[in-house]
């Protein structure tokens, strides 16, 4: 009668001892990872200090208030005790049942599509003065042009835009002629990739001219014949304004480096890579910390087994 109880308690004690040894190993690994993290953070902060020395203050004023995380964490639960921790909504169960013995592992997940999910946002308060001046000049140009058009008659400006457009179209035709194989230049006709790039640039330029005409049409009121539908024009104008306001945030993608200007010092890029490495170490630390969690359950179950053997 007593023998099975002793056996089961011995088995439990063995399991507890194994878990204890594993926890001590995890503890040692935790301390080593903390030392590594400290080195990485130190290097990252040093590079950040160098970047501050180069470009001036770096801080909260430059943060994008509509930032989206490009690095996220995926959690996997590995239940060591054979029970199911569930999928999908299992996070809630695991979170509310700390004594379930469920271990979680964290994996880093970088999203390349954060840029597409980004909302158009106004630039940060401390945006570069040169960018603002350039934008203001660009915004002033159609307004000034519209004002001139109103003064002189809108036809002049529209003619100028049409002339520019025709120039663009002519150059487009030139390229097409080259495609037909004049072959004399050799370099241009032989490189299909370069021609494609030129065509893309021309398309962008054409698009820009079209939108400028729309702007003139909406600002001037009687400009050209391209008034079109008012709803579409308003949407177009709003889009252009958003892109202009968005600046590096709207067009530059999700890289937080763009918050600090177009040309950032190399030290800031080094700081970014240093902190990315530190982030991965943090997740390793979190995984190691999870492995230390079962110590609670091992000691509690061993204590219960000893009490059972004593009685």
């Amino acid at each position: 009668m007593a023998a099975p109880k002793v056996t089961s308690s011995a088995t439990e004690l063995d399991a507890a001892e194994r878990e204890f040894v594993e926890t001590m190993d995890a503890l040692q690994e935790y301390l080593q990872l903390q030392a590594r993290l400290q080195d990485q953070l130190k290097k990252g902060l040093m590079n950040l200090a160098r970047a501050k020395y180069s470009m001036g203050p770096i801080g909260q004023a430059q943060y994008d208030m509509e930032m989206q995380a490009s690095v996220r964490v995926a959690i996997k639960s590995g239940d060591e005790n054979g029970g199911s921790s569930g999928g999908g909504g299992g996070a809630v169960e695991g979170a509310n049942a700390p004594c379930s013995g469920t271990r979680y592992s964290f994996e880093i997940r970088k999203s390349p599509n954060a840029a597409t999910a980004r909302r158009p946002s106004p630039p940060p308060a401390a945006a570069a003065a040169t960018m603002d001046r350039a934008k203001a000049a660009a915004e002033a140009t159609p307004a000034a042009a519209a004002a001139v058009a109103e003064a002189r008659g809108s036809k002049n400006v529209a003619d100028e835009v049409a002339a520019a457009d025709s120039v663009v179209r002519l150059s487009d035709l030139d390229l097409l002629d080259d495609d037909d194989g004049s072959g004399e230049d050799g370099g241009l006709s032989g490189e299909g990739g370069k021609e494609e790039e030129d065509e893309k640039e021309l398309k962008v330029a054409n698009e820009f001219l079209r939108r400028m005409r729309l702007l003139l049409g909406s600002d001037g009121g009687d400009g050209g014949g391209d008034g079109g539908s008012e709803g579409g024009d308003v949407a177009e104008v709003e889009w252009i304004r958003r892109v202009r306001r968005g600046g590096r945030n709207g067009g530059g993608g999700s890289d937080p480096l763009h918050w600090f200007g177009v040309l950032v010092p190399p030290a800031l890029k080094d700081a970014q890579s240093g902190f990315s490495a530190a982030l991965e170490t943090c997740l390793l630390l979190a995984n190691t910390a999870q492995r230390m969690g079962p110590l609670y359950h091992a000691t509690s179950s061993a204590g219960a087994a000893e009490e059972g053997a004593a009685t």
């Binding site: 301390l31 903390q34 930032m67 996220r72 979680y104 943090c282």
Partner: protein, 123 residues
């Protein structure tokens, strides 16, 4: 048999950070920062003017959010809200103490290691 079940959404969960400005800037450069539609951030910049109550509220808010998987807190900040961290016993979000900018990492101050030491009887 261990069953690995992915319990996060397709996008993944966030990391929260409570630390000094430079450390936060660094982690934001790494892509951790997120501000949602309600203007709620997943970070808190702690300086000399930040009150303990603010830090406590931020920590409690981060631990209550369901989209945060890991809370990174620098040791200097953690020492100000030790009692709140000790009361946190949920596995998710996981709380991780990281070295502060000004002070090196002290294992004797780490809540996790203190708890392990206490339970293992190393006092």
């Amino acid at each position: 048999m261990a069953k690995n079940v992915n319990i996060t959404s397709a996008d993944g969960m966030l990391l929260a950070v409570l630390a000094d400005e430079d450390t936060i800037t660094g982690f934001l450069l790494a892509g951790v920062g997120n501000v949602d539609l309600r203007k709620k951030k997943n970070y808190l910049v702690v300086d000399s003017k930040t009150s303990v109550r603010t830090i406590e509220q931020a920590f409690k808010e981060f631990s209550a959010r369901e989209d945060i998987a890991v809370i990174l807190i620098s040791q200097q900040v953690a020492s100000q809200i030790r009692h709140v961290i000790a009361a946190h016993n949920k596995p998710i979000p996981s709380v991780l103490e990281i070295p502060s900018k000004d002070c090196p990492y002290d294992p004797s101050q780490d809540s996790l290691l203190k708890r392990v030491k206490l339970i293992a009887g190393f006092n």
